[in-house]
Structures are given as C-alpha cells and as structure tokens.
C-alpha cells in the first residue's frame, strides 16, 4: 500500500513538474522546442481533417438511390487470387450482395496451390461468374490483365481476394464516372479484423485517418495519385489503353500514375467501403509497409520522374504537386522527425523526458480530434469508437512506421530492393524493366 502511494505521489509530482515546465516556456521557446509538431505534419493533417469535415457539413454525402435507373452500364469486377481458398467464398458472397444491378464477376486463380482454383470452379458452378485458372503463378499484374481481357464491362473494378465490399460499394465507385474527366476511382479501405489485436486496432486508426480522410482531402484538391489495389475502379478502355498493369510491387499506383499522365483525374469514393484483412503480426506489417514504401522511389522518383518535368508533354501542375506532397510526407517528414529527435536529444538533454511527455500529450489531443472527425465524417466507423483507447500509443506506432519508411527508402535508393520482392514470381522478376 505504501509503495502504491509512493508511486502515485511520484507520478503526480512528475506530471506537475512537466506542466510547470511546459507552462514556463515563452512563445519563442515553445516554437523552438515543438517546431516539428507545429510546422510539420500536424497543421497539414488538421487542415485536411477540417476541410473534409467542412465538406461533410456543407456538401452532404451522396446517398444511394432508392432505385437505379434502367440504364446501368455493365461493371466487371476482377478478383485475382493467390492461395486464398479460405476467403474467396466470402469475396464472392459480398459481390453477389451488391445493390448495383449489372455486375460481371471474373475470378482469376494465379496458380494457387491451396485449392483456390478448385473452390473458384465450385463457385462458378453455383453462381453466375467466370473463372480463369493459370496453370502456374504469373503474378498479380498478369492475373489482372487476363481478367481485363475477359472483361466486357464499361468499367472495371479491381479488388483483392482477402477483402469484402459493402453492398453499395460498386455503385459508389461507378457513380463517379458520370464525370468524363474521371479516369479511375479509389475505394475506401477499412480494416476488417480490427478487433484482432492492438496492432490491428492501430492500423484501423491509421486507415481511417491516412487512407480515408487524407485521400478524400487529396481527391478534392485533385492531387490524389493512387488507387489501392484492394479496391478501385477504372474505365476499362482507359486501363487497356495504358497497357493494363505492369509487373512488380506498386503495380496499382503505377497504373494510376499512368492514367493521371493521360490527363484524367482520380476520384475518391468515401462511401465505397472495402474491408480488408490487415497484417496481424509486426513482421507481416513490416514486410507489407516496406513493399508499399519502396514504391515511392521506384514509381515516383524513378519510373515516373517525368511528372516533374515542365517539358513533359502531359505535364500537369496537380500531378507534380501530388508527387511533391508524397515526397514531403513519405520521405522528407520521417527524415525531419529524425532530425528533430536528434536536435532535442542533444540540445535539451535535461528536459528530454518533459519534451517527450508534452509531445505525447499534444499528439494525443491532435489525434483524438482527428479520429473523432474521421468517425463523424465516416459514419460507418462508429463501431471504431473504442479504438480511441489505443490512441495514447498511436504516436509510437507512427514512429515505428516512419522508421520502416526510412529503411524502405534506403533499401530502394541504394539496392533497388523492390526488384527482388517476391510479390512478382521469379521468372517475371528476372525480366522486369529496371528503372
């Protein structure tokens, strides 16, 4: 009992000292100590959230119509799958539940060895869908390209085989094509298994803030440059014209960039919800994020660097800003945070613990606001309210992701690690064009 009282008293004293320290800072000192928080990502993210909140308040979300018009163009949903025997049935079920009335489903088995192909054939015998089975693994891009060649729809929806869709997702994706400038539409990814562990809960918050709110913000500004492979819709002819998907990791962002280069816009369908299974272990998460983050160098810095060239025939300022935004947040920001950490550690060694504590409190306030905004805007995520409980450790999760990002960037800049990623099968990797 005495120990507990002692610990409690110590904590109170410590917090009192921290508050006294923080309140004792003058304006200049406050800016000097918390420059990273005040000038790096927080204003950008807070502004983005407020902007989306404003849109939500004044530009009401489009509600699915009670009945569809008679003319509903055919939409082809292509689902490439590799060893997804356990989930493919769920995918098909969610597709069959779609409210959009004119859907063609194509399943592509990319040489699975766990009976996925057999399950697909079984599903094809029961439901109205088409199946193509590769004799040997060819890679996700090849599987999608086969599906694309089989597709008859005016629009193509590409989705992952470990994801499921809400009933109205396809309609919410397709309705954006009423605008002829739109070439592709990004769906809204959420975490399906957020109740699995703390790690998946943290990812659920990240998806809500970064993939949902931030993409909506970027789409409204016309600088969205990625349609996730897990859920996205394309004009079939346009996707065929850019040659379909190219092999290797980041094939989805690569195709989207090529569509942007043709002068088309990328829309974000916030109500087109796709629930995807997030990694459940730290190792799997690291592998996934390393693959994602390497694409920044592979696709944006190398393969499509002509986006930055004003002499480029299809140069667009929005595309350049889109790339610059990505570089700032994905590359420069982690580096600046590293610099900030070193700066504080060496320049304020005595107050480092107070700085860290205050930073956590500030982040917690910021994150709580942002998360609540996200939950308000994305009504579907009310069930995520309990996730606010893991917010105190969310900054550490972000720090962890930043470290992964820096590692990935280093790997790609110096070793072109993405070209060794088993995302593409060996025979394809051996022939891939290296940028």
């Amino acid at each position: 009992m005495d120990t507990l009282t002692l610990f409690f008293n110590f904590t109170l004293d410590y917090l009192e000292s921290a508050v006294d320290w923080a309140l004792g800072l003058n304006f200049y000192q406050f800016i000097r100590v918390f420059w990273a928080f005040l000038f790096l990502e927080t204003p950008r993210y807070l502004f983005a959230n407020l902007f989306v909140l404003y849109l939500w308040l004044w530009d009401r979300p489009v509600i699915e119509p009670h009945k569809f018009p008679v003319e509903t163009p055919l939409v082809t949903v292509v689902v490439p799958a590799l060893n997804e025997a356990d989930t493919i049935h769920e995918v098909v079920r969610s597709l069959r539940e779609q409210t959009y009335p004119n859907i063609e489903i194509i399943l592509i088995d990319d040489g699975s060895t766990d009976g996925t192909g057999e399950k697909m054939s079984l599903l094809a015998a029961h439901y109205d869908l088409r199946v193509h089975r590769m004799a040997r693994r060819q890679g996700k891009s090849a599987a999608i390209n086969v599906g694309l060649s089989m597709a008859r729809g005016e629009f193509v929806v590409l989705m992952d085989s470990d994801s499921t869709l809400e009933r109205s997702t396809v309609w919410h994706l397709v309705r954006h094509f009423e605008d002829p400038k739109i070439g592709a539409v990004s769906g809204n990814l959420t975490v399906r298994n957020h109740n699995h562990s703390v790690l998946t809960r943290l990812q659920a918050i990240e998806y809500l803030l970064s993939l949902s709110m931030d993409r909506r913000f970027k789409a409204e500004l016309g600088i969205l440059s990625i349609v996730p492979g897990a859920i996205g819709a394309y004009r079939r002819e346009l996707l065929s014209n850019v040659g379909g998907l190219e092999p290797g990791p980041g094939c989805d962002s690569d195709a989207t960039i090529r569509i942007r280069k043709l002068g088309r816009q990328i829309a974000f369908a916030q109500d087109a919800i796709c629930r995807t299974t997030s990694p459940t272990s730290v190792f799997k998460l690291m592998k996934q994020r390393l693959r994602w983050d390497r694409n920044l160098v592979r696709n944006r810095a190398r393969k499509h660097k002509d986006i930055f060239y004003p002499s480029f025939a299809n140069f667009r300022l929005s595309s350049m800003i889109s790339f610059a935004d990505a570089f700032f947040f994905l590359a420069l920001l982690p580096a600046l945070w590293l610099i900030y950490t070193v700066d504080m550690f060496f320049n304020y060694p005595g107050d480092y613990d107070f700085i860290l504590l205050t930073m956590l409190v500030l982040h917690y306030i910021s994150m709580t606001f942002r998360t609540l905004t996200g939950l308000i805007v994305c009504q579907f995520e009310y069930r995520l309210v309990p996730l606010l409980l893991v917010l105190p450790i969310y900054p550490f999760y972000r720090l962890f992701l930043k470290l992964i990002r820096l590692t990935a960037l280093g790997q790609e800049v110096f070793f072109r690690k993405s070209y060794q990623d088993p995302f593409a099968p060996a025979q394809v990797r051996a022939q891939m064009e290296i940028y």
Binding site: H66, R93, T164, S168
Partner: protein
C-alpha cells in the same frame, strides 16, 4: 351409340393389325383424361377412355402385349393428367409462398425474411432502423426461408401439394397416383382373331388343327415358327417362309360362297407342301407356309410345286388360272427373332401386292437343291 364389347375389341385389334409395326402407340392429347390417345380411335367410334380400358382387357385376355410408353402422376380421384404440383404453406396450405433468404441483423438480432428488410435496393432493419451494409459484418444469411403471403407463416421447407385441373381437387403430393401408360402390340392370338373376325375360338385358337382348312392353327404356327427359327439359328439349318394371298373372287367370279372357293384353293395349295412343312391361315385370304430345311434356292421349287397344284385346282374347276405372288423370305442374320422373320415375309407380300419393286433380288442359284 355404344358398340358391343366384342366389336370394340375387334375394332381395336384390326386397328393394331393395320399398323406396320402392329402397334397401337399412345400420342399426347391434352384433351384426353390421361393425356394420351390412340390415332384412329375416333374412326372406330370408341372414346379414348374406353380404348385404354378395352386394350387393358385385351392384354389381360392375351390378344395384345403391353409395351412401356410413359409413366406419370395422375389425380387419385378422377385420373386426370393435368396436375399442378405446388409448394404450399405448411400452415394454411396456400400456394402464395415465396422463397427468400432469412437475414440476421447482428446489431439487434432481428431475423426475418429478406423481403422484410428490403427498402428499395437497400436493406433496412424494421426493428432498429439501421441499414444493413456489409454481409458478414452487419448481417448474415443463415438459411433460406419460405414466407406465406396469406398467413405470413415462415417455414424453412414448404409442403408440396397438387391441384387437379380436371376435378379441382387439392391433395397432398403423396396421394397423386403413379400410373404407367402402355402401347399395345397385337400378338399371334390377336392376329388370329382379326383373321377370323371374332374373338371366340371355334377352331381352337389355342388348339393344333384348323378344321376348316385342314391346316394347323395360326397359334400353333406361331409357336412352331418360334421353335424352327431357334433351331435353325442354333444348328445352322436353312429355313424359309411363304405367305400366299388368294383372291377367291378371282377364282370363282360371282360366287356367293366365297368360303367354299377359298377352301378349294387352300386345299390345292396344301397338297403341294411337304409333310415337314407347317402351314396355317394367317388371314382370311392368306396362307402361311413354313418351309423347313429350305434355303433361298429351294423356295422357287416350292413355289413351282404350289403353282402347279393351284393350276390343277383351277383347271379342274374350269376357272381362269391364278398367278401366285407369295411373300417369300429365307431366314438370315437380318432376322434376329421369329417376329422379325414373319414381319419380313408380310412386308414382302405387301410390297408385291401393292406393286412396289422387291427390296432385293434373290441371288442366282446354279445348283438346284435336292429338296425332296
């Protein structure tokens, strides 16, 4: 006017005998009680229903043989073929049931047919007002269900019931009567009855000798034919048959006693046959002769003998000579059964009588056989 039973029977047998396959096959006829009728029945003045009853009776009596034609369910009460098999509500037996999935809304636990949740293209829970958006997340389809539009009873499996469009009776599907519809093939006994023009058997259809002509009965002939065909096939013995049609009116023009004239001709023809041959009257005007141990080369000799005997008869009666044109066939591999063998002979005779060319000329026969 209702025909006497025996006349109906004979009419049906004649109708069967007229058919090239000697078969009365039922054809679909929605207006008939059991959905089938026999072509040509109306000419006989027999109703379809009576025809089926009579043919069943003839089958029982042994004049025709049954052959499977169709099988189906009929009204247990009136025998009508037009039954509506319907899925009905187990509670009120109304057929106003619709199949649909049951939906289970996870949030409030409401479980009801899909139709109850349908709100345009959306699903809205009537209990809690929330929208169902994602299968496996918001809701599930635990099973299919049947919703009765009359009493709102929800069942996982409906009952099956019948509605007879003939009598309007509604009954459980299990009570529908499974019945077989047959085709009827006239057999030897039936053929004999047609030949004789009566069902009764004064000369003993089941006996051995036809006392009128001094020949075997056709029943015996039929039995003997079966035996001889079997023996010939087993021991590679030749076997031939002739069907000779006589026209008594040509033999005795203007005669009132056609039967007497026929007896003269048949008696004459019979004299030409060997003791080992078997002969019987196939129809009133046709002699069937089974020529044992006679191959295709021997048939012309047998015919020549018969022609000579007939010539003697006509000469003796001072009548004009008759030229015989028998339907003659020799057993070979194209005749798998005695019935096929006999049918071939009949077809040959029919062709000759109708003036059609023979299907195939018999092979030339240099060495005449030593047939008796």
């Amino acid at each position: 006017m209702m025909l006497p039973t025996s006349e109906r029977y004979l009419g049906l047998l004649k109708l069967a005998a007229r058919n090239p396959q000697q078969l009365l096959s039922p054809v679909p006829d929605p207006s008939a009680l059991n959905g089938f009728s026999f072509p040509g029945i109306s000419e006989l003045g027999i109703s379809t229903r009576d025809a089926f009853d009579d043919l069943e009776q003839l089958a029982e009596l042994g004049y025709v043989d049954r052959q499977f034609a169709e099988r189906g369910y009929f009204c247990w009460q009136c025998g009508h073929h037009a039954l509506l098999f319907r899925e009905v509500c187990p509670s009120c037996t109304s057929s106003n049931v619709e199949v649909g999935d049951l939906l289970h809304h996870f949030r409030c636990g409401h479980t009801a047919p899909e139709t109850e949740f349908q709100d345009g293209v959306r699903y809205t829970c009537r209990k809690c007002g929330h929208q169902l958006r994602h299968i496996g997340v918001d809701y599930e389809r635990p099973a299919s269900s049947y919703l009765c539009g009359s009493c709102n009873y929800v069942s996982t499996e409906p009952d099956t019931a019948c509605l007879c469009l003939g009598c309007g009776q509604r009954f459980e599907a299990e009570r529908a009567e499974l019945r077989t519809i047959y085709a009827y093939r006239i057999n030897a006994r039936g053929t004999l009855a047609v030949t004789r023009g009566e069902l009764g058997d004064a000369r003993g259809a089941g006996g051995l000798v036809d006392t009128e002509f001094g020949l075997y009965t056709f029943t015996y002939f039929d039995e003997r034919l079966t035996q001889e065909v079997a023996a010939s096939k087993r021991y590679k013995r030749p076997l031939s048959m002739m069907l000779v049609a006589f026209d008594p009116a040509e033999f005795a023009p203007g005669s009132q006693d056609i039967a007497q004239a026929m007896r003269h001709l048949v008696t004459g023809a019979k004299e030409s046959l060997r003791d080992c041959d078997c002969a019987a009257m196939f129809r009133e005007d046709c002699l069937a002769a089974l020529l044992t141990d006679t191959d295709a080369n021997g048939v012309p000799f047998a015919l020549k003998r018969m022609q000579t005997a007939i010539d003697k008869t006509t000469d003796a009666a001072g009548a004009a000579r008759l030229v015989l044109q028998p339907g003659a066939v020799t057993l070979d591999e194209s005749h798998p059964t005695a019935r096929a063998f006999f049918d071939d002979a009949r077809a040959t005779l029919h062709r000759l009588q109708s003036g059609e060319p023979a299907a195939e000329e018999p092979a030339p026969s240099p060495p005449p056989p030593a047939a008796e």
